[in-house]
């Protein structure tokens, strides 16, 4: 049986998903995701060329409201759960390289 997914692909997907998986997890997930994908391919037994994809089970439509100023959470409540903050800002490690270095 051909493997559905290999460790190389699992590493790539982990990078896309922003997960710093351990080597042990990569190995474990390679096997498990392979088995799940193998099962999922059961769907290929069904002929669906003429079937519309259904993303949502109810007829949904755009919902509009008047563009009015309303009360929002405010800075303190919004920042209350911040892992790190600096005044009215969320604080994260430096994103841009220091141009002088």
């Amino acid at each position: 049986m051909q493997q559905k997914i290999d460790a190389q692909q699992v590493r790539k997907v982990a990078k896309l998903a922003r997960l710093d998986l351990t080597e042990a997890e990569i190995e474990e997930f390679t096997g498990q995701l392979g088995a799940i994908l193998q099962y999922v391919e059961k769907m290929n037994e069904l002929e669906t060329a003429e079937v519309e994809p259904l993303a949502h089970c109810l007829p949904i439509h755009n919902v509009f409201r008047a563009d009015q100023v309303r009360e929002s959470l405010g800075t303190e409540k919004t920042l209350a759960n911040a892992p790190e903050r600096d005044g009215a800002f969320f604080k994260v490690p430096k994103i841009l390289e220091d141009s002088s270095s």
């Binding site: 997914i5 997907v13 069904l46 669906t48 089970c57 949904i60 919902v63 994260v92």
Partner: protein, 490 residues
């Protein structure tokens, strides 16, 4: 009868009549939690001071003759996937272990407006991903009927709390069976409303096109009472159905009127996948309806066998997108080992998410990634349409479908944790309902040889919860399964 054995309706009526105080009922629940929850593990947090204070206020209002809400004084448990502006909202995850929501979910607000007493927040599979509550990152919950077994999941904390009478009713959420399956495992009533019936505002998202909040209760009437409180359009949730299209109602009105000329659809081949004891119990329940005058029609639902495959692609795809928000920046856990901003994301997520959550994020990311989108995600959406078609055709011939809520009764703790696919396959009777968006209920319909509860699942077309509840009540009125209680726990 001790206070904790009253139904939510009975308690509410006695509190309103001044026969029992809300403080007394709340104390009874808190005492039971103190005594039983070290074993059961249903709650992630309890809110004793707040609960007693609110109960005292309800008692004062009643004594003063002031108007009170429809759940006045009734202690209720909330699955910890629902945001509360008090206490923590953890989702059973270490990534949200210390998260304090700045706002209340709409359903929480509605319960509080109805003067309910929120006693605590219940355990769950992390981010509602699981069928046994074993994926909780924070606590282990056991089944009150047999403490070596799982309560089901992901709303296993709410159903275990209900079964052990550590609340009078509870809220859960159901993305692929997370209310109905644990309700069947714990011998209680669990209702998943139609998608759009109840506002999802403040429900931490897992699979946004599938998620729905619903009641967990000891009786059908209590589920109807809770649904009456939480249903209805909410401007804060654009997918909640507007009142003109499908008005919410008082689900208690007419609840005891049997449905005349009831036609029950059975998909025999599909139902045959359950354990013999479950097939037998479902068969006997259907016979009971027949005796009550119902007609049974055989329906063909050829695409239900593909529901698990489609569900696990769609749900994980939506999850991979929804859970991108846990990045260690705005709230939740942040790794102390991050050297740059990318590592804030990758290490925070790696260190604080549990295995099943990572697995589902990986699966969903893969299914949406370039080169695989058509083969997996698009294909699954097409299969979803075929599954919905099965229900549409079936409901042309019958009022409701009946099937098991799960292929087995509660399984042993640890039995399936090492084999995720095996765990997924146990969702065979529940996931199609979420893909089709229709309502479903699980009600107690018997026990297996080991004394474990069995659930009868009943399904009706979209937005017909009133009829669904009436059909469920027809059976409950003729049986006494719902009055049985776990033994040996006390």
């Amino acid at each position: 009868m001790p206070v904790h054995d009253l139904t939510a309706m009975e308690l509410r009526d006695r509190i309103a009549a001044g026969q029992v105080s809300s403080v007394e009922a709340t104390r009874a629940v808190l005492d039971r939690i103190d005594r039983l929850d070290p074993v059961v593990g249903a709650y992630l947090s309890i809110l004793p001071e707040r609960a007693l204070e609110t109960a005292k206020e309800v008692d004062r209002k009643i004594a003063a003759g002031e108007p009170v809400g429809t759940l006045a004084g009734v202690p209720i448990a909330i699955k910890d996937v629902l945001c509360t502006s008090f206490g923590t909202t953890t989702c059973g995850s270490r990534i949200l272990q210390n998260f304090h929501s700045p706002y209340d979910a709409t359903v929480v607000r509605k319960l509080l407006d109805a003067d309910a007493i929120i006693v605590g927040k219940t355990n769950m599979d992390e981010f509602a991903m699981g069928s046994s509550t074993e994926n909780s990152g924070l606590r282990k919950t056991v089944n009150p009927w047999d403490t070596s077994r799982v309560p089901g999941g992901s709303s296993g904390g709410s159903t275990a709390a209900m079964a052990a009478r550590m609340c009078f009713a509870a809220l859960g959420s159901d993305t692929g069976g997370s209310i109905r399956q644990p309700a069947s495992f714990c011998g209680v009533v669990g209702l998943k409303p139609t998608y759009g019936r109840v506002s999802r505002y403040g429900l931490v998202a897992y699979g946004s096109s599938l998620d729905q909040i619903g009641p967990i209760a000891g009786t059908v009437a209590d589920a109807a009472l809770l649904l009456s409180v939480i249903a209805g359009h909410d401007p804060a949730d654009s997918t909640s159905v507007d009142e003109k299209a499908a008005p919410a109602g008082d689900y208690l009105a007419g609840l005891n009127e049997p449905v005349e000329g009831l036609k029950i659809g059975i998909a025999s081949a599909f139902n045959a996948g359950a354990e013999p004891a479950i097939q037998k119990a479902i068969g006997e329940a259907v016979d009971d309806y027949r005796e009550a005058g119902a007609e049974i029609v055989e329906v063909d639902m050829p695409h239900l066998d593909y529901a698990i495959a489609a569900y696990y692609v769609i749900a994980t795809a939506e999850a991979s997108s929804n859970l991108a928000r846990y990045d260690g920046v705005h709230y939740g856990y942040r790794s102390e080992n991050a050297n740059d901003y990318i590592e804030v994301y990758t290490k925070s997520r790696e260190e604080a998410f549990g295995k099943e959550v990572k697995r589902r994020i990986m699966l969903g990311t893969y299914a949406l990634s370039s080169g695989y989108y058509d083969a997996y995600y698009l294909k699954a959406l097409k299969v979803r349409n075929l599954i919905r078609g099965d229900f549409v055709r079936a409901f042309e011939r019958c009022d409701c479908l009946m099937m098991p809520a799960a292929p087995t009764t509660a399984f042993q703790i640890g039995e399936k944790v090492d084999d995720p696919l095996k765990m997924y396959l146990a969702d065979i009777y529940t996931v199609a309902v979420n893909l089709a968006g229709i309502p479903g209920i699980s009600i107690p319909c018997g026990f297996d040889a080991a004394g474990l509860p069995i659930g009868l699942q009943i399904l009706t077309p979209a937005f017909s919860e009133a009829k669904l509840l009436r059909i469920a009540r027809m059976y409950e009125a003729r049986t006494n399964w719902h009055t049985r209680k776990p033994v040996g726990l006390e």
